[in-house]
Amino acid sequence: MWLWFSKLGSPKWFYELSGKWLPWLAAGMSLLLIVGIIWALLFVPPDYQQGDTIRIMYVHVPFASISLAFFPLMAVAGTITLVWRMKLADMVAKTAAPLGAWFTALALASGSIWGSDIWGTWWIWDGRLTSMLLQFFLLVGVISLRSALEDADAAAKACALLSIVGCINVFVIKYSVDWWNTLHQPSGSFSLSDEAPNPPEVWVPLVIMIVAVYLFFVVSLILSTRNEILERERRSQWVQELIGAN
């Protein structure tokens, strides 16, 4: 277990292993994305209330659900950075912050387009929208702290600490904002029975899209982490050899 753990911390090991995984992950992602998008856009029956607008859900819900994962991810990576000084954890945390900001922005944008049709407005100060917006601000704070600190080691630790504090804060913000104002529909429940409000032909493509977007997230995270590894380890022998070989 501990051998595995210390191996995981080695950027070189991660680079090689992720290189082997990447084609499979990318293939799975493309397959699910194509199936999910075609199914959602062409074959899902229009909603009895929202009509074709419901198809936005197949983009919005996956992005919104994954953008909630970023602060916990960064907090865990930050804890590993602070406790075990693992370089790889910091590389993941560093690349996760801008990705998280993008995913959050996309969730907000797709939600806003959806809202413009069914709520009749592009933006309202509703609990979920506001807490998403504040999460976006917090992520921007982490990114700007990272870019402001020049010393890479200090930046890693400072961002790790800020991510942990931010993660706690995201939960507090979530609850306080819900308490403040709530209009957003609660997450629906899905069931296999046909009489349920959300029959399988509605939610199966949604699950496919969620898995596809999660894979998209994993693939982008791995790609940008590999980039970061090469940049930080550019003076090490194995990177030199890799560059020389190509």
Binding site: L138, G141, L145, A154, L162, N169
Partner: protein, 229 residues
């Protein structure tokens, strides 16, 4: 060790006393947050509307946002000069738990920046036509809420103390974190206007204060150890 061993409580008191003394000697630093609060609060009637009814609606939010901005502005004094003259390093080298020393600095900072704002808030509330029965609630919420703002802000200051120009980055980090306090504070004041019971709302604010006192100085202390080398 000689007989001159200092207990942690003595170190706590000494830090508090030193910071208050420094603040007293630099009266500008004491007056500025307070003046800033007054000026920001008086910009709202000019910018939005002098109509008393509209002002009454927004007064609690205006006062809370002004207090939040004033606290943010005053943050710069918290560790900056200590960092520049090296006394912050001495603080980090001290054998006493950094938690208490940071807490002492936060308390003295709140005494010179947050407390005056809370004290003058009923006056500004009157000028903004906030209904009379909520003056006291406003005062209490600011009294409980401004220390939370100081404690949260201190984490951001500690993270950025080594940076040359950090005005905006401090705001970007700190302001979103202060939202729960802002919500709890303004909701409590509005609750008075509805005539409902305040106990639950004040309890939530107080819970925030206790959580912040317990954990924020720990985070600030860890951040200081990262920033100061």
């Amino acid at each position: 060790m000689t007989a001159q061993t200092v207990t942690t409580f003595q170190a706590f008191k000494a830090t508090l006393k030193r910071d208050l003394l420094i603040a007293y000697k630099r009266k500008n630093d004491m007056v500025n947050p307070f003046m800033f609060f007054l000026i920001v609060a008086s910009l709202f009637p000019i910018g939005i509307s002098p109509d008393p009814d509209r002002l009454a609606e927004i007064a609690s939010g205006v006062l809370w946002i002004s207090a939040l901005l004033a606290s943010l502005l005053a943050m710069d004094n918290l560790f900056r000069s200590d960092y520049e003259d090296g006394s912050l390093e001495q603080l980090l080298l001290s054998p006493h738990p950094l938690y208490f020393l940071v807490l002492a600095k936060n308390i003295s900072h709140w005494l010179v920046s947050g407390l005056p704002v809370a004290l003058v808030s009923p006056l500004v509330a009157y000028m903004l036509n906030l209904p009379g029965e909520s003056y006291f609630t406003l005062f209490i919420t600011l009294l409980i809420g401004t220390p939370v703002l100081s404690l949260l802000g201190s984490i951001g200051v500690a993270l950025t103390v080594g940076l040359g120009s950090r005005g905006l980055i401090l705001a970007v980090i700190t302001l979103p974190m202060s939202v729960p306090v802002l919500i709890a504070g303004t909701l409590t004041v509005q609750q008075t206007l509805n005539g409902a019971s305040l106990a639950g709302y004040l309890a939530i604010l107080a819970a925030m204060l206790f959580a912040a006192v317990s954990f924020a100085p720990l985070a600030s202390a860890a951040a200081l150890r990262i920033s100061v080398k």
